[in-house]
């Protein structure tokens, strides 16, 4: 089938504003949008710039705004996207070139929530920190985040003010806040209770719709809010 692919392109060395360019691509219904981008880059215009690594929905490199919604280009099939497809860079970030954005502010927010297990105590048996199945289940959902930034860059609060920590950072804070083995819960909750933390969420559910891993992000944000209340942080 013939697909008309519209890509919002930006060359920092020549353009002052991004502009749309159209490409006619031949595709199978089972092709992914990423395959179309490859076709353009490999056979039509080698200057097209985008990020991708594993191409199988695991590394989270190729989040893009496809047909108006944030998705992974490697997971979205042509048969679902239709014969007229638009592709843009994710929003609220500085565009480096074409579909490639500067992810550094996203990582800064991520690093700020201390996304690692903090526990300096020696386990009872000297080897393992045991956990009940119910305790493990509490962070099962949020531990599946692949840091693709589809949620944060679909959030209208983040679009208008990037000082908001964003859903992805909250999800990754949640991952450790509700982990029974972790000892830095209070410190993370302090960070989450910042004026630019959980309070800025308006529960518009854009993040939930955008998440390629179907993480219940708004639920996680609410749970962090509840934990702040329980810990009596003020």
């Amino acid at each position: 089938m013939d697909v008309q692919l519209r890509i919002r392109r930006f060359n920092p060395e020549a353009d002052t504003e991004p502009h749309w360019e159209e490409y006619a691509v031949e595709a199978e219904p089972t092709d992914r949008v990423l395959d179309l981008l490859h076709q353009v880059k490999w056979y039509q215009d080698g200057t097209l710039t985008f990020r991708r690594s594993c191409a199988h929905g695991v590394c989270g490199s190729d989040a893009m705004l496809i047909n108006g919604q944030n998705r992974l280009a490697c997971e979205y099939l042509v048969k679902d996207a239709g014969t007229s497809i638009t592709v843009e860079a994710i929003r609220g970030m500085t565009i480096v070139k074409d579909l490639l954005v500067d992810m550094e502010p996203f990582w800064d927010s991520y690093k700020q929530v201390m996304p690692f297990l903090v526990n300096d105590e020696i386990p009872a048996d000297g080897k393992e920190r045991r956990q009940s199945q119910a305790d493990r289940e509490r962070y099962e959902d949020t531990s599946r985040c692949i840091l693709c930034a589809a949620c944060t860059t679909s959030c209208p609060v983040f679009w208008s003010d990037q000082s908001y920590v964003g859903p992805a950072a909250i999800v990754n804070a949640h991952r450790f806040i509700v982990d029974s083995r972790d000892t830095a819960k209070e410190e993370r909750l302090e960070i989450m209770a910042d004026p630019d933390g959980v309070w800025r969420c308006r529960t518009t559910f854009n993040c939930v719709e955008a998440c390629p891993r179907d993480i219940k992000i708004t639920k996680a944000i609410l749970e962090v809010t509840q934990e702040i209340g329980k810990a009596g942080i003020r």
Partner: protein, 148 residues
């Protein structure tokens, strides 16, 4: 030789690494809970208000005039009801506007200025409304005003 143009920054993107360490905010926490609880209370208060003013009045054949207000505000229950409705609706609405301004006005001076104007105007209106409910004397005679 081609000269490279400096790339134009499309969006502002302040790095969080350059910001001071985040700190818990009790104020934001208070308003977060306030918005949810006042929202719940307002569903009941506002629907009750609408029912009395627009349904019950028609059903009982009453008319909303000075005498109607006099009879209602003769009872402390309705004064407290209207006072709660006024204060909760006002604070809920103004805080909502504050949040929207915070989301959409990024220029610091402009943001402070707009917030200041909002707070002053809404403060005056809120105090005026509260004063009327508190100090209204049901024995006052009806005075023909510009709206009567």
């Amino acid at each position: 030789m081609t000269t490279l143009r400096r790339p134009r920054v499309i969006y502002t993107n302040p790095s969080r690494a350059a910001r001071p360490k985040p700190e818990a905010s009790g104020t934001e926490r208070f308003w977060w809970y306030f918005m949810r609880l006042s929202g719940l209370a307002l569903v009941i208060l506002a629907l009750g208000h609408m029912f009395i003013m627009h349904v019950l009045v028609v059903l009982t054949g009453d008319e909303i005039n000075f005498a109607f207000v006099q009879s209602r505000w003769g009872s402390p229950f309705w004064r407290i009801y209207d006072f709660a409705l006024l204060v909760l609706a006002f604070l809920h609405g103004v805080n909502g506007a504050r949040v929207v301004i915070g989301d959409y006005v990024n220029h610091r001076t402009a943001r402070s200025l707009i917030l200041g104007v909002l707070l002053v105007i809404s403060g005056i209106w809120l105090v005026a409304g509260m004063a009327i409910i508190i100090f209204f004397d049901p024995s006052t005679q009806s005075v023909a005003g510009p709206l009567s």
